[in-house]
């Protein structure tokens, strides 16, 4: 799958480094999951039946299909928990992020 390009945003140190008006180059991300995530999904592959419901509902396309059913793209998962909610066999657990 095509993942968005991440191009780090360098904070301006002089006013002239700002764009003219709030208009910016588009088509890339300035950061991965924007640092919002407080809980991350973890799958128990022994429980997972590979129904791919989580794959369908993930709003960020952060559930990926693998030979071993599914995995998560943690760079883009924002931790919303929809996958854990939809899972019919409770194979996905949301675990608090520790930093």
């Amino acid at each position: 799958m095509d993942r968005p390009k991440v191009k780090k945003w360098k904070r301006p140190t002089h006013i002239d480094e700002y764009s003219t008006g709030p208009s910016f180059e588009a088509g890339h991300l300035v950061d991965v999951h924007s640092g919002w995530r407080t809980f991350k999904p973890v799958v128990d592959l022994d429980k997972c039946i590979g129904c791919l419901k989580c794959y369908l509902v993930c709003p960020d396309g952060a559930v990926i299909r693998t030979e071993k059913k599914i995995d998560f793209e943690y760079d883009f998962c924002k931790g919303c928990g929809v996958c854990a909610k939809i899972c019919p066999v409770d194979a996905i657990t949301m675990i608090k992020e520790t930093k």
């Binding site: 700002y18 003219t20 709030p22 180059e25 588009a26």
Partner: protein, 394 residues
């Protein structure tokens, strides 16, 4: 090279100035007293003498929104409005200046409701001084035409990129016919190159345009806007000089003074009233009174430095305001006072509120203002309503 002369109204002059500036799109909604501008431009687009798209938008809010879209793809936009229409597009005015879209707009200065009035005063544009637009007030139809062409050059300057409002007193300028010299297209083309923009909406180079910011960066963008309008001071002067060299008409930068060298009393005014004040100045000078007049051409950027240079020897200064900020004073007076306060000199000052809702400002009114300034009665209320038809208790 001689220019063609036309006997036309201020509105016609605006339309001809717009055609010479080669805009790509005109999006406008008609409103008295600006209607003729819109009519003429739609006729020009129809008969092919103006190669532009004319958008019949459903409101002034849409007119401004469309103009921003035009500017965003790197095309030249024009719109025109007045009074209630200007207020209706108010949201768009701030948007356009924040987005740095160098739209040029004509505004026919007209009173604001209520009471409903189609007649002239300057409450509309002065009420929107904070919208981030450059504002010029012209004195006659010739200046109206010339300023449209200058407006694009100033607004589109890389250091400025700020929308530009050309203000004409409703009816007095919009509907009065004058002999106007119309510049030749080839010289205008030489003066005004095609518009290019740094933020172009373009499939080849996608952009996020007109975005939000977090509180972290908002102040910086507002500073940038402020700096651009401050920088326009020099651009305005340079552009006027270049215009004078090419077309033989210059307007003297941000203010224009008349007979103030040895003046004891001076009136500061905007727009069409200047001519009448000059006539009174000549008459009173002949009678031995040392009086003069300063026309403020630009309210944004405000000509603080120029005013102080001209005013610092004058004992008595009056400001005619064709608007009032209820509960305080006229807007121009507030600005002049702020400049004076910063400079540290202390003339006798008076604010004359006049001409609201199209009320005539007569020569005898103006003479009366000058006499008040010359007599310098310091006990008088600083804010005087001139031309009241009834007694008031003051």
């Amino acid at each position: 090279m001689s220019e063609e002369k036309h006997f036309i109204s201020g509105n016609d002059a605006i339309a001809m100035g717009v055609r010479l500036s080669r805009p790509h799109v005109i999006s406008a909604y008609p409103i008295t007293p600006q209607t003729i501008v819109v009519e003429r431009l739609s006729e020009m687009a129809e008969d092919g003498s103006l190669d532009a798209e004319f958008m019949h938008v459903e409101s002034e809010h849409s007119a401004m929104s469309a103009a921003m879209g035009v500017s965003a793809v790197g095309a030249r936009a024009f719109t025109a409005t007045s009074s209630q229409g200007l207020l209706y597009m108010a949201e768009g005015l701030f948007y356009a200046s924040g987005g740095r879209f160098p739209i040029v707009m004509m505004n026919g200065n007209r009173a604001l409701a209520l009471p409903w009035s189609i007649y002239g005063d300057q409450s509309d544009s002065l009420g929107l001084l904070n919208s981030g637009w450059i504002q010029v007030y012209v004195e006659d139809a010739q200046e109206a035409l010339d300023m449209v062409i200058q407006a694009y050059k100033i607004a589109e300057h890389k250091k400025v990129l700020t929308p530009f409002m050309v203000n004409l007193d409703g009816f007095i300028l919009t509907h009065t016919y004058e002999l106007v010299s119309v510049p030749k297209q080839e010289i205008v083309d030489k003066f005004l190159p095609p518009f290019t923009t740094v933020n172009k909406m373009d499939f080849e180079r996608p952009m996020n345009m007109g975005m939000s910011t977090s509180p972290k960066d908002n102040l910086e963008y507002k500073y940038q806007q402020h700096r651009a309008v401050m920088d326009s001071v020099q651009v305005i002067k340079d552009v006027d000089k270049e215009y004078e060299e090419l077309f033989g008409r210059g307007y003297g930068g941000l203010i224009k003074s008349y007979r103030i060298e040895d003046a004891e009393a001076v009136l500061i005014v905007l727009g069409s009233i200047t001519g009448t004040v000059k006539v009174v100045v000549d008459k009173m000078r002949a009678d031995g009174h040392k009086v003069g007049v300063i026309k403020i051409r630009y309210m944004r950027p405000f000509p603080e430095e120029e005013l102080l240079e001209e005013c610092s020897h004058i004992k008595s200064i009056g400001v005619i305001d064709k608007n009032i900020s209820f509960g305080y004073e006229g807007t121009v007076f507030t600005h002049v006072n702020s400049a004076i306060a910063k400079s540290g000199f202390s003339p006798f000052i008076m604010n004359f509120i006049a001409g609201l809702g199209g009320k005539d400002i007569s020569k005898s009114h103006i003479e009366g203002m000058f006499m008040t300034l010359l007599e310098g009665d310091k006990k008088k209320n600083k804010v005087q309503f001139v031309g009241m038809g009834v007694q008031i208790n003051e």
